[in-house]
């Protein structure tokens, strides 16, 4: 059973409800719980086939954590919010995992306050898999821990190492720290100290600094940065991809030649778009808390919610959390 924070995100509760219906349609044994205002949720799923409806539970809640709410304060005060109730379901074993498009700060705070941290982990990280030219690159943190101490970056590297081993099946993943130069001297204190900690850890295949322009080439398997930088980076990429799409559409509209060429190009454009499609790959896993939490972008719609729900289900079925806990305990 995957709990879905139906009230989080810009298109709530529509996106979550439609995403839940689509995920249950795609996967016939999937069970989900839509957590939120039942009066809004019910009509949005009413038209789903009986088989699907039978696998969707509605858990009514009366409060919503907004995008501008203070993360930890709202988790403490809004006890009947969709996010808090859904996190409680995971905590109490009534759900196996959670999917949310809500306030990133509140998701990270709620993960820590309600689910608790994994033993030995100071702060959680949101990890996202970035489709580089040569290999998938796990980028973390993309928004859970805005300010990072050296130990946070070090632990993100350790969790990323484990995640890449378990989910990307890479024996000895190459781990790098994001910096503004690849030379040893560059970067700020926290990054330099984290680099020293990583060099001293024989279990982690630490390969030095990586500059942001090398991410797309896929110069390593795991890239570690603080949550502010990671969040800015993925959002900037999103905007840049939108800009490129807009500009190309303009070309097709305003000029005859490209319009004539369009039928030749369409399959290529589609293949390409599929490869960098944020709606399918854009969900992030909250690592370091005692539960499975998948966070999607606040702007997510049906398709992205659907793939995030399926992703959460995969993570649960593959015992992701247990494997990460075991690996951390062994360290």
């Amino acid at each position: 059973m995957i709990a879905i924070d139906a009230m989080g995100g810009d298109f709530a509760p529509k996106a979550a409800c439609e995403g839940a219906v689509e995920a249950c349609t795609k996967r016939s044994n999937l069970q989900v719980a839509l957590v939120g205002d039942s009066a809004q949720i019910e009509p949005l799923i009413a038209k789903a086939p009986a088989d699907v409806l039978g696998r969707i539970k509605i858990i009514h809640t009366s409060e919503v954590i907004q995008g501008d709410d203070h993360p930890s304060v709202s988790i403490r005060k809004k006890k009947d919010s969709s996010l808090v109730v859904a996190l409680r379901m995971v905590k109490e074993g009534r759900a196996d995992g959670l999917v949310t498009a809500g306030n990133t700060g509140a998701v990270a705070a709620g993960g820590v306050l309600i689910l608790g941290r994994l033993e030995g982990i100071d702060r959680p990280a949101l990890g996202i898999v970035y489709p580089s030219v040569s290999r998938p690159v796990l980028l973390l943190d993309v928004g859970a821990t805005v300010h990072c101490k050296p130990v946070n970056l070090y632990q993100f590297a350790a969790m990323g190492h484990i995640y890449a081993q378990i989910f990307e099946h890479i024996d000895n993943p190459e781990v790098k720290l994001l910096n503004i130069g690849t030379e040893d001297i560059k970067g700020d204190e926290a990054i330099l100290s984290a680099a020293e900690m990583l060099k001293a850890d024989d279990d982690i295949n630490y390969c030095g600094f990586v500059e942001a322009n090398e991410l797309s080439e896929g110069s390593c398997d795991v890239v570690v940065c603080d949550g502010f930088t990671g969040n800015v980076m993925i959002k900037f990429a999103e905007g840049l991809v939108d800009l490129i799409k807009t500009e190309f559409k303009k070309e097709f509209k305003e000029h005859l030649l490209p319009k004539l060429g369009l039928p030749f190009m369409l399959p290529a454009v589609k293949r390409f778009s599929a490869r960098i499609d944020w709606t399918k790959i854009g969900h992030a896993c909250l690592l370091g808390v005692n539960g499975t939490v998948i966070k999607v972008h606040g702007r997510s719609r049906k398709t992205q919610l659907c793939y995030a729900i399926l992703g959460a289900d995969d993570f649960v079925k593959r015992d992701g959390l247990v494997k990460i806990m075991e690996a951390i305990a062994k360290r």
Copy 2:
């Protein structure tokens, strides 16, 4: 006379020498000084026409500041390095401005140590003009000041405001602070404090926070962030654009249909590439120091150096520095 740090960057001194020849060829009254190892420089410009050669001076230096040198230490110790000598030429009025592809940290440190800061400015910022869908967006800092206090971000906003007025001819430029959420509560202490300072300044049209995905839409005229974040962002964009190019080339190579469509598409691709061409627009201006300093990417080649030299010449001819100094003094 524009001084060029011929030894800075990955393709030194070739890129700087060829860029200087190209710039002097394009602009018939331009005079430049190539600062660096004369034994390496001379053969690289030997084939230039006499008219061009007559406007290129070589200033021999014996040292080079490397990419992995410590910024302020190398400026103090390598007194006969191309960067230090070129900065001294600007300081002493023997050159009107400087173009360099060298170590960003050393350029910023050298700017402060040799040229001095503008009165009232605590730290310099590198500003770059980003081509959004709707308008040019001045992004600063992209690498001069890695860690920023609130006053630094505030002063970057003030300098950005002036730069946009002078060079983009915008009366009342919209200035925003880069953050990981647009709500007032988000972001770190330095950003929140800078926001308060900007709200209290009636001369600056401060319009709140901007998220990185909105940059490409062009939601304002000036975007302010710390040097670490800005540097990561532009480098990530660079890598992403490279990835997109690589993937598209693959499509044309591997599939017949796009290959057939290519002749229809080429003009569109060319127009589009020209719009986001980092080689022409990718140079950054070091704001806040007492001299004209243009920094280009370390990976820059001939064309980018050429456009940066022309950009420096424009800045000088338009009295950029004097106008910025006057505007700061008036505040």
